[in-house]
Symmetry: C2
Subunit: 341 residues, 2 copies
DNA sequence: TAATAAATGACCAGCGCTGTCATTAACTCT
DNA sequence: AGAGTTAATGACAGCGCTGGTCATTTATTA
């Protein structure tokens, strides 16, 4: 029932130590010895006792994912991606939902790291954008990867996975421009999330490139919520000179805008085009379905975890360059911005 | 930095073993010794090393949560509840999303249990309703708790947390009846999920109690999805004698029904009342907001985990009776069934 | 073929805790 | 009060593995 390293050693005809070497990817193990050991491991279905390894090596085989995100779908996707990577490398994932705004958050993170004896951490917004967290983790020397909004890799962001919201927002805005819209409004998300700023910048850049001056009235501050979309759109649509298109910072806001427009009997997309961002599941279930940008969250999370393992595993493929992945969400055109026929 | 059991023992002036006894709630520790040790633990902020405990005792301090649920909000809530309980008892939660319909699912579960050396498992639908899983777990003697739909505790369901969908559905139907509706249709969820059957039964019971015969045409089979709601409602609303109210098996279906009704220019709730189930976040964001039933998922999950720990921890409060919690989702009246004025 | 380098094994200590059993302290009862 | 009994505590080995140190074997090179 319980297969130990001894059994494997016997089966492979090598010493315990050699099996240990194989398990830990130590150098100086000949290819054929390695194969013999691996064969034995597979045959006996050996699973090293994590507790014992942990105890003996004082290394740990779990990574943590800290989040505070009201968007359940995003979180679930992230978990999935990280779990995929974890399974591949024999790690475990410790999830830790918490409140980013609570006072003792830094201490809470440190406690978690210590208590669960984590080998590393993956952070998504808003944690990935909190300098105090990054500093605290650097101080204790814990590897961590941040998933953040950004377009240009740089040494300062060496431990980041970038999601290029700027370019994606540029593309969405461009899509609206190509449909002939020139009066395009923007509904912002939370100021604290840099994604909101990036998306706004992408929107502005696209307009600028066409030589269209941004109308300050068309840029409405808000937050990542349905209500914010309702209110923002309401304001926009009451303007004497109302926009012909609205680009919302995410799908929830867009859904709110949709809601407002319907209340005011404005036909979508004939009288008003609306685009969202994120490709949340419900973006296909609104009426009409929302044009949006799709982020491959599962893949993003997977990469983030993979990157983390590179810093975590001692003898792994450290030689590989630490390239910084940049993901550009892709444009997904649906009926909410379709050409009116 | 690293506080071990030795430090605590020295601080408290007792032997290591006694500290261990305190940590494990073992009997035969005198009150004042206990207090001394606890004081030392608190003073030093001692956190036992899980790996070492695990190794020495071959007990494990993590439980698993296996799920395959497209509803991210449900899953997130469940995780939260279990995590709360885990933190309280010093356990860790291992999450395992997977595909319930895959062929080797039983083996996959067993592998997970062995690999992650789980102390127990929490199952939600559909896993909690798969007899082969329960059997496999019983065979290896692993404690597990199932969260299932049901109203009456029974010895056979001793390791279950029950969610009384029947009564909740009864209440919703009753609410519609009280509004004066008699032509009430029902949009079913997936047959495989027993919750669908329970809700249907509750609906039927409420009608029966009023002496209203169920109209077979008013019971539309389907699945837990928006599309299913769209199609189901379409069918119902094309009937020569259409219902004046629709009770959908969950909010997603209800949202689909809402969508259909709007397409057909049917005013909600004036011409048609619609009720959902589950109180998903978006049920407040539809137009009009949906009447629904609220399940306290976080609490349910917490209780499930607590119950599990009772089977898992050796010297815990085993004396407590193993009462079976039954949760009755509560009626949440919103505009989609408001009295037309 | 000898010299040099690389791979492997033997062996031991020890990670931080728990299980077992021996020991000591604290009660009970005559 | 002292023997008998029970409750509380401690000493010690060992869980399964890794890290280190050397000794030994095997491959590689000159």
């Amino acid at each position: 029932m319980k297969v130990t390293i001894n059994d494997v050693a016997r089966q492979a005809g090598v010493s315990i130590k050699t099996v240990s070497r194989v398990m830990n990817n130590e150098p100086s193990v000949r290819k054929d010895t390695y194969d013999k050991v691996m064969a034995a491991i597979n045959e006996l279905q050996y699973q090293p006792n994590a507790a014992a390894r942990n105890l003996a090596s004082s290394r740990s085989f779990s990574i943590g994912y800290i989040y505070d995100n009201p968007n359940a779908y995003y979180v679930i996707d992230m978990q999935r991606g990280m779990l995929d990577a974890c399974r591949k490398h024999g790690y475990e994932l410790i999830i830790h939902p918490t409140n980013a705004k609570s006072a003792g958050i830094v201490q809470e993170v440190l406690d978690l790291v210590q208590h669960s004896r984590l080998a590393g951490l993956v952070l998504t917004p808003p944690f990935s954008e909190m300098p105090e967290i990054a500093q605290a983790l650097e101080k204790i020397g814990l590897p961590f990867i941040r998933i953040i909004s950004g377009s240009t890799p740089s040494p300062k962001l060496s431990n980041c996975v970038l999601v290029d919201d700027f370019t994606a927002a540029f593309k969405i805005t461009n899509h609206l421009l190509e449909l002939g819209h020139t009066e395009i409004a923007f509904l912002c998300g939370d100021d604290e999330h840099s994604s909101s700023g990036e998306r706004l910048a992408g929107y502005q850049a696209a307009l600028a490139k066409r030589g269209i001056a941004t109308n300050p009235k068309f840029i409405v501050p808000g937050s990542y919520s349905f209500e914010s979309g309702v209110k923002g759109a309401e304001k926009l649509l009451q303007l004497s000179k109302r926009p012909t298109a609205i680009f919302a910072c995410n799908d929830e806001i867009a859904a709110g805008a949709l809601f407002s427009a319907r209340l005011m009997n404005i036909a979508i997309p004939q009288q008003l085009a609306i685009a969202g961002f994120e490709n949340s599941p419900f973006s296909r279930q609104t009426w009409p379905p929302l044009t949006t940008a799709h982020q491959p969250n599962v893949t993003i999370a997977q990469q983030a975890a993979e990157l983390l393992f590179r810093h975590t595993k001692p003898n792994a493929s450290k030689n590989l360059p630490d390239k910084q992945p940049v993901f550009i969400p892709e444009l997904l055109v649906r009926e909410s911005t379709a050409v009116s026929s």
